[in-house]
């Protein structure tokens, strides 16, 4: 029997868009990832990361909080220290940037590819919907 993926992985979703966050939480749940916490970002983010100890952080690139996440690395007192996901796959990274979403993870990145793909797809979909909305008078 094939080994089950690490579905107990804790995911922190940092997104100021509640509707998109709800959609992504549902999508991740359907993929089997149920430990998703949604926060809007802001000055409390570092404390939220320290309290929740996520294995993965999904963050909206339109928020300023990415620098906060990257800064957690310099402070040895705080764990975990999320590292920018730079999948060996540059195409995936470019798709993520184009969709406006970024990822950080702790430990090895084996189990997280389905999370990246789901989030990229959802951010892209929301972006397209927004664009359509914007052109409608």
């Amino acid at each position: 029997m094939p080994q089950l993926p690490a579905l107990t992985l804790k995911i922190l979703l940092v997104d100021a868009d509640d509707a998109r966050a709800t959609d992504l939480t549902k999508l991740l749940g359907a993929t089997g990832f149920h430990h998703v916490r949604h926060v809007p970002g802001g000055a409390s983010l570092a404390d939220e990361v320290t309290a929740f100890m996520p294995g993965v952080v999904i963050i909206d690139m339109a928020l300023p909080d990415r620098d906060t996440l990257e800064g957690l690395r310099q402070n040895s007192a705080r764990v975990p220290r999320p590292v920018l996901v730079f999948a060996d796959d540059p195409v995936l990274v470019e798709e993520a940037i184009a969709a406006g979403v970024s990822f950080y993870h702790v430990g090895d990145g084996q189990a997280i590819k389905p999370i990246l793909t789901a989030a990229i797809a959802l951010f892209r979909l929301h972006r397209q919907t927004e664009k359509k909305g914007a052109t409608t008078p």
Binding site: L63, D67, G71
Partner: protein
């Protein structure tokens, strides 16, 4: 050409070049992209979504050395400004420090020592925020704290927060102070939440702040466009540096499309006519050879990054400095506008008084470039 910016006064030359249609005059089509984080700028620059950006030199080195994501060759053909940051401390911390200040001249060094004394008064360890671990702010704040006898890694807690969140975090008591670029210190002061304890100039007089960082692959493919962009930014730097243009620059930058703050707080950090006050707030864009990408600046940044463990101490500083900082490209652009080009690519950082820099066709008058602890930084000649 796509140029990335953060919401900071440092972006003035690039924004003014766009608004005054100076890029267009050189037949350059430029898109400005206001980005919410340094991380976005770095990713977009590394993956071809941006060609150039206004960033702090430590981030350029982090990218070039592959410290965040894939290593990405970056060059810095021109600097953009000197100074402009404040170390802003919340009212209660500032009061504790003031209790340790005796009568006399309150230099930045005296204040750092008073801060060290205040930390022994039994209060909780204060949290100070900087805008990015790979920032000038992080290195300047650490330099100042250490000069006063404070261990930045143990005696205080250093955190990272976006500049736009500093004032709110100070209000809520989440941080006790911050080091950030203009106009955020001015905003905290205006709201009576904080005191300007020192500034970039107070820590390193006329020290460098932001630079034009360019994706090397783009620069190699478009040398003509890069040269044109540099010429435009040299003209814009001179424009922004003139005190008579401050009101227009402040108004332009304050627009919602750019900084989205009151024009007054932008104006407070623009170059003014002033008389010998070293603890000034200004971002200087042209005077004091502000646009020159000095190898001595590069070496100082690299050495300080190694001092605090951000890069390995074994890094070949000279090789990295010369790969990233490109005064040769600066010279091409400056010469084409008949602007003076320094004869050397480095200077001693640490002049206590005004001096004259040898340059062709004419020397450049320089204000002091000393550090708060009075120790000069004199990289050996190649």
């Amino acid at each position: 050409m796509r140029i990335g910016l953060l919401k900071l006064t440092d972006a003035a030359p690039v924004i003014m070049a766009q608004e005054l249609e100076l890029f267009a005059a050189e037949d350059l089509e430029v898109d400005l992209s206001i980005e919410p984080s340094g991380a976005n700028i770095a990713d977009k620059l590394a993956h071809g979504f941006l060609d150039a950006a206004v960033i702090a030199p430590p981030l350029a080195f982090a990218m070039a050395l592959g410290l965040r994501g894939r290593a990405c060759p970056i060059i810095i053909p021109q600097s953009l400004n000197l100074g402009g940051n404040t170390v802003t401390l919340g009212t209660s911390l500032a009061r504790r420090i003031a209790m340790h200040l005796a009568w006399g001249k309150w230099t930045s060094l005296v204040k750092a020592r008073a801060f060290a004394a205040a930390l022994k008064d039994g209060h909780e360890k204060p949290t100070l925020a900087v805008v990015d671990q790979y920032s000038t702010h992080n290195l300047l704040l650490r330099y100042w704290l250490a000069a006063g006898g404070i261990d930045p890694d143990n005696d205080v807690t250093l955190a990272v927060l976006p500049p736009t969140q500093m004032v709110e975090a100070l209000r809520g008591g989440r941080i006790a102070g911050f080091c950030a670029g203009a106009p955020w210190g001015a905003i905290a002061k205006e709201k009576h939440l904080g005191t300007t304890m020192t500034t970039s100039h107070g820590i390193w007089q006329n020290g460098p702040e932001k630079v034009l960082a360019v994706n090397q692959a783009w620069a190699d493919a478009h040398p003509g466009r890069l040269l044109a962009a540099q010429r435009v930014l040299l003209r814009a730097a001179r424009f922004c540096d003139a005190p008579k243009h401050a009101a227009l620059v402040a108004e332009t930058l304050s627009a919602d499309a750019y900084l989205g703050v009151e024009a007054d707080v932008v104006d407070s950090s623009l170059p003014k006519a002033r008389g010998g006050n070293v603890l000034h707030l200004e971002s200087l864009f042209f005077r004091n050879a502000a646009t020159v990408p000095w190898h001595s600046h590069a070496l100082w940044f690299l050495q300080q990054m190694a001092r605090w463990g951000l890069i390995p101490a074994t890094t070949d500083f000279k090789r990295v400095a010369e790969q990233v900082y490109r005064p040769d490209l600066y010279a091409l652009a400056a010469r084409s506008l008949n602007l003076p080009v320094p004869r050397k690519t480095f200077k001693t950082e640490g002049h206590a008084t005004a001096w004259r820099c040898a340059a062709d066709p004419s020397p450049i008058d320089m204000e002091p470039d000393g550090f708060c602890d009075g120790v000069p930084f004199a990289p050996a000649e190649a």
